[in-house]
Symmetry: C2
Subunit: 187 residues, 2 copies
Amino acid sequence: MPRWEPDGVERLQAAAFELFDEQGFERTTVAEIAQRAGLTQRTFFNHFADKREVLFGLSSELQQEIVREIATCADTLPPLDAVVRALQATADKMFEERRDAVTRRHRIIGANPELRERELSKRAALTDAIAAALHARGLDPETALLTASLSMLVEQTAIQRWTQPAESPPLRELLSDALYSLRMTVK
Amino acid sequence: MPRWEPDGVERLQAAAFELFDEQGFERTTVAEIAQRAGLTQRTFFNHFADKREVLFGLSSELQQEIVREIATCADTLPPLDAVVRALQATADKMFEERRDAVTRRHRIIGANPELRERELSKRAALTDAIAAALHARGLDPETALLTASLSMLVEQTAIQRWTQPAESPPLRELLSDALYSLRMTVK
């Protein structure tokens, strides 16, 4: 049991991801997650409303972080580049050191249609939040939504590669590569 | 009651869309739909598994049509242009004369989170099918998925405008416009 892990949230998350990955999301109980983490169910419910929240609990923090980065980005950048730069800053802060966990999460969600629907829905909400942040900076609503959607496509393409076992570059670089691929594809 | 409508499926669909739009999807029963269409519930269930199917029943036909159009498209076109051309052909066949119904459907789905999740999921499946069709024509998997995702973004942008009351150009034209906007945004 990972008793060396000081933070309850992190321990519960690591335990949950392991179990979801080993035996499937549906078949894993909160009791098993707490046990694997060496914590009580009460501690689990202090941090998460249910076991699905372990997978999706970070999404509002992620969204706030990205929106904040967009708001502070230099005005001189073209909008899509500004958003990709915000995604890169967020990748450094929230993803880079958690590649194993993110990869596991990616695999767990991919294996379960209900979780995939949930993920798509979260991604749509994030797209809308990015579009709103761009609109707040003066972009017309249609271009803002298009730019936000394109940035999410860049993010997906980069994450897809970053979560493959064989890939090793930092997510920041893969985001640049994905933006380049996007430009080549659209040309 | 629209007795002038010869086709049971179309009548049921029109009745369902009216009712979903008037009183909400959740609160509408199959009995009410059948009654509004002047048909029996048995006829309803001959055509649809449940009331949600009235909204999503066409998606497999749409997918087949788009994939077929991609397969028959000239080899000389760049992939994204080929897919947008396929979407335009499909728009002419399956959408252009049904603008009121499509607009109503769009509004119904937008008003209900569960239906929105379902729509996102159908769209993801369509994206994968388009990517597979492009891969079958020799595109590498990553570029195929990127191109498919971009084409769905073009489709969404165009449909968004086409289903606004004030917009009148044919969907085919709005698809061209959206592809142009996409190119300008990515530039």
